[in-house]
Symmetry: C2
Subunit: 301 residues, 2 copies
DNA sequence: TGGTGGCGATAGCCATAACCTATCGGACGC
DNA sequence: GCGTCCGATAGGTTATGGCTATCGCCACCA
C-alpha cells in the first residue's frame, strides 16, 4: 500500500473516470489502472465497479476511500509540521546555564533574543557544569553556556566573551580604597567561596594557586549573591565576576577592587553536541550575548 | 514522502539506532539511511541528530515522527476496513423488488437468507421495473428481482423460478367450480387489472392477446391485494400469480382456478449490472429463493 | 448491421529508485 | 595506537512504476 495508490483511488472515486483521474494525478491512464489493480489485489477487495455507465464505488471501496482520505490528510499534516520546523530560529531552544552566569547574563540575553529571534523561546536549565554536560549528551538540553575550559568528547564550543574577576570587600575594609590588588595578597582565611562543584570556585583557586587548606564550611555561600551579602555583613571578602558587579547589583556596603594586571578572567562559551542541526540558533544566541551592554570583552568569529 | 519512509523514521525514533531499526524493518542499514536522508531532504528538516552517543530526535523530528505514527495508524485501518469488506456475503445488499413479487417472496426469502448469509442484511427497494432499472444503472441498488423479459444493456439476469397465473373469481361465481379455464374465455369487461406501469399487467394482456379496449379506470386496483379484495366484493375477476395464492393469502370469498394447459406463467429473475463484484451475494439470494417452499418451479444453474 | 467512439485493460519497453554488499571514515575505549 | 562500533558512501543489480501503443468490449448510431 502506497500513499500514491491511495491518492489514485481517491481521484478515481471523485472523478468516477479512470482517464480523468489519471490526468488529475499527472500520470497515464494505464499507470493509474495498474496501481489501482495492485492495491485491489493487496487488499483483496474490488474497490471499483468498472461499468459502461461510468465507474461505481463498491461498498468496500466507499469505506476504503473514505479511510484513504483520512490517511492522506494526516500525511499532508506531516509536511505542514515539517515546514513549521524548518526555520532553525523557530521553536524552543533548551539552554543550560551555570549558576554563576545565569542571573547576570540571562535577563539581558533573553530580551535581546526576543527581538533577534522572536519565534525562539528559551527553556532555561540552571545547573552545574558537570550536570549540564550530562544533560547535553543525553539530548535533554540543546546547548549550554558555561565557562571554559570545557573539554568533552563530541562537544563543540564557541567563545562568547571574557570577563574579569574583581575582589569584593566590605565598604569599610582598608582595601576598599585601593586601586588594585595583587593576587598573592588574598588570604584563604578571609576568602568566601562557592561550594565544591562550581567551576567558578575552582577558577579562583586556580588563579590564586592552591591554598594550603580548603575554606571551612562556614566560609561558603551557595550563590554569588549570598557571597556578596556575606561580605556586606563583614564575614570576609570574596571574588566575583564583573557581570555580577554592574550598577544593577551595586550596593553601598561592599566595594569591588580590580586585580593587578594581568587581571584574572574567565572565558564564557556556548557548548553543543557536534552535529546539532540548529547551529543558526546557537549563532543567534552567541551574537546576542556578544552584543550586550555588559562589562565583558566580546569574542569575535 | 512514502509510507515506507514514515515506517523507517518511526523505527529509528524507537530504536535510536539505525542498524537496529533497519533490522526491524527487514532492510539493510544503508537502505534505511538513504530513505531517511531522502525524507529529510524532501521535508527540508533534519529529523535525527546522529551522534556518537546514539541517535537523537530533533525538535522537528519529534513532531514529525509523532505525526508519522498517526499516518501509519490510519493506513493500518485501511487494511482492517478492506479485510472486513472482503467477504461478499457481509455487508448490506441493496435489492430492488417489483410490487407484485415483494410481498409474497420477501417474507420467506429474508428469513432464508438470515441463516444462509447472516452478515448480509437486505435493503429493500420496492418499485416498478422501469424505476428499478434506473436505480440499478445508477448504482443505487445492487440487484433487482423482477419478471422477465428484462433486456437492458450492461445488465445480466439469472432466472430464479417460474410461477403460473390463475384466474381469481368470486367464490359464488359459476367458474369457481371449474377445473380449468381457457385464456380465450376471459372477458375484458369484467377483468380487474393493475395500473399501467406494472409489468404484471402487461404480461396478462400479452397472454390474452391484446383486448380491443383498455379497462376503464374503475376496473383497476393499485396492488394485487386490492384486486383480490375487489374480486371478493364481486366487482369482477382477475388474474394473480400463484405466489399470491398460497394458503397464507387464501380467503373464502374468492376462488382461484388454473388456466388450461399450457398455463401462462411469468419468469422471475434477479438482475444486476454486468461487472458487479459481489456475485456470490447474488448467488446466495438466488439459491435462497429457489429453495423456498412456494408454489414455484425453481430454475437450475 | 456494420461502423465509430469511448473506456478500461493489456503488452512491451524503459528509466528510475530502491535495495544489496562491500567499504569508508570518524570517534570512542582499552 | 588498535580494535570496534556506527552511520555514510560507492557501485552494481533488480524491480517497480511509468510511458506509448494497442486491444477488447460495449453502447450508440447511421
Amino acid at each position: 500500500m502506497t500513499l500514491q495508490e491511495l491518492k489514485y483511488i481517491v481521484a478515481v472515486a471523485e472523478e468516477k473516470h479512470f482517464g480523468h483521474a489519471a490526468e488529475r494525478c499527472f500520470v497515464s491512464q494505464p499507470s493509474l489502472s495498474a496501481a489501482i489493480r495492485n492495491l485491489e489485489d493487496e487488499l483483496g477487495v474490488k474497490l471499483f465497479e468498472r461499468g459502461k455507465t461510468g465507474v461505481l464505488l463498491t461498498d468496500a471501496g466507499e469505506r476504503v476511500v473514505e479511510q484513504a482520505r483520512r490517511v492522506l490528510a494526516e500525511a499532508g499534516r506531516v509536511k505542514t509540521i515539517a515546514k513549521s520546523g524548518r526555520n532553525p530560529l523557530a521553536g524552543v531552544l533548551r539552554l543550560g546555564v551555570i549558576p554563576t552566569i545565569a542571573p547576570y547574563l540571562l535577563p539581558d540575553l533573553v530580551q535581546a533574543l526576543r527581538s533577534a529571534a522572536p519565534q525562539m523561546p528559551l527553556d532555561i536549565e540552571e545547573n552545574l557544569t558537570a550536570n549540564l554536560e550530562a544533560l547535553l549528551r543525553a539530548g535533554s538540553i540543546d546547548a549550554a553556556i558555561l565557562a571554559l575550559p570545557f573539554d568533552a568528547p563530541s562537544i563543540e564550543t564557541l567563545t562568547l566573551y571574557d570577563e574579569e574577576f574583581q575582589v569584593v570587600v566590605p565598604a569599610k575594609h582598608p582595601w576598599a580604597k585601593r586601586k588594585s590588588i595583587a593576587i598573592g595578597e588574598l588570604d584563604p582565611v578571609s576568602l568566601l567561596l562557592l561550594p565544591v562543584g562550581h567551576c567558578f570556585r575552582n577558577q579562583i583557586l586556580d588563579a590564586c594557586g592552591e591554598f594550603a587548606s580548603a575554606p571551612a564550611p562556614g566560609r561558603q555561600g551557595n550563590s554569588l549573591e549570598t557571597l556578596r551579602s556575606m561580605v556586606a555583613s563583614g564575614l570576609g571578602m570574596t571574588v566575583l565576576p564583573v557581570t555580577a558587579l554592574t550598577p544593577r547589583h551595586a550596593q553601598s556596603l561592599v566595594k569591588a577592587v580590580p586585580f593587578d594586571e594581568p587581571r584574572p578572567i574567565r572565558r564564557v562559551a556556548i557548548a553543543w553536541r557536534s552535529g546539532f542541526p540548529r547551529l543558526a540558533a546557537l549563532r543567534a544566541v552567541a551574537d546576542a550575548a556578544r552584543g550586550l551592554k555588559l562589562p565583558i570583552k566580546a569574542a569575535v568569529g
